[in-house]
Symmetry: D2
Subunit: 149 residues, 4 copies
């Protein structure tokens, strides 16, 4: 019995995250997986910055999209996959900090379309600071060649 | 006389792009700079992929945001800077291909708010394939500490 | 033979538009229907304004959504329908003018998901002024009860 | 002493809402005003529908934009105004019901840019049903001719 059949969404998400090479490239870790909620964390790294020395909006989008996508993935059948159709990101404060936390949560489940919302936080000594939000629309995909897991 | 005073937006954009470490991390090159139009190109690299082996949506967002942001930067005063407030990305086809081209263009100039639209294409032997679009809202920033260039 | 079977998308769109009571409420007319492009026009009316006397963003959204939705409708099978999943609207200039023109166009056709882009213009004596843009994601719906035309 | 100087944001919002003719046109009422939170309610009316007999997305956008805009308005100085720069709306369930409730809340306050999130619900005999969400970006405007209140 393989994990896809086992219904263990936590293990399937861990395996799928491990195959997202882009997450390794940006140094992201999967730190929380619940039914409908996924968190990804990222230490600051100068290689992820834009010209003002803060986290590039694309890096923030990458982490939020993965968090939202895996949150969607946690609520679908083991033989289905998730593709992002679109998302919107608001950048609310500069991405400065030692670490960053990105949380994706399901707002509206569905058999074809899932809506997820994400928030990104900068973490230093003080309280976490909201730096960005995402609303993403995900499509549940079944039986499409090359799209599994 | 430094380039910021010279009014040479092409040189200012080249310098600012060179300071975007995230662009080097994803292997992006600045390939076209015109007044109101900027293009960025990217070879495919497995380190930029998501779990299905296609370009991660965050990488697409990074390149489109930089292209849109620099398109905005090309139409402002030499002493001002650009910050992205928000953007929306639609992912229309899987990011598969040898190379990718991302074009950002100004849709609405303004002294405070600039709206830019971007499109991303996969490039192989055949015709370029539209893979993604962005609409981004940029803020023109003047005299804010730490935000120059 | 009814119009839905006839493949005459122009006639189907005219009939569907006529059933959009909200379009009559805001005084909108369907003024152009092509394959992949639909235009809707609206005279200024004080009953459509927000507190500053300009067109309410919701009215702009209504006209752009209908234009984009019918543009999608023009490229699907006669027995399918269109539902809007989501859209983003940028408001670029105040909605002031004698008349307004809203154009929706297909950016990416598809059998399940269609992406459309729209632009809204204020029309007076001078050149048309861009007041708003939309990017919308539409779903092609077949065989869902209560969702036809 | 007039209300704008009095700092009574509730009264200023009530007066501003009363000047939004579009809200009267769609039959909307302002039902809750708190610091950072505004609610608007709407009875179902066939004149607000699209071709399938459900609430038109533009009507949903109108109510959510007003709720989000007035939520922003509740946290600014009495001599400033709010203009919507852009918003994204996700339509999650068909707008069917006897009444609809739209709530706007401040996610990120700011002296120039305010981000607000809104949710729309259909209300019948049973529990309220989430039909739509909005994320909107608002600009704080001061001293611009014709833009007060």
């Amino acid at each position: 019995m393989n994990v896809r059949e086992s219904g263990d969404f936590r293990e399937r998400i861990r395996q799928s995250f491990a195959r997202q090479a882009a997450m390794e490239t940006i140094g992201a870790e999967l730190t929380r997986v619940e039914h409908g909620v996924v968190e990804i964390e990222l230490p600051f790294d100068v290689k992820l910055t834009q010209q003002h020395g803060i986290l590039h909006a694309g890096v923030i989008s990458a982490a939020l999209d993965s968090a939202c996508g895996f949150a969607a993935y946690s609520v679908i059948d083991a033989d289905a996959s998730i593709l992002t159709i679109e998302f919107k990101v608001n950048l609310m404060s500069p991405g400065r900090g030692e670490r960053f936390l990105f949380r994706g949560e399901i707002t509206k489940p569905g058999s074809n379309i899932i809506v997820a919302d994400g928030r990104g936080y900068a973490i230093d000594d003080g309280p976490a600071k909201l730096i960005a939000s995402m609303t993403g629309t995900m499509m549940v995909v079944r039986g499409r060649e090359g799209i599994t897991g």
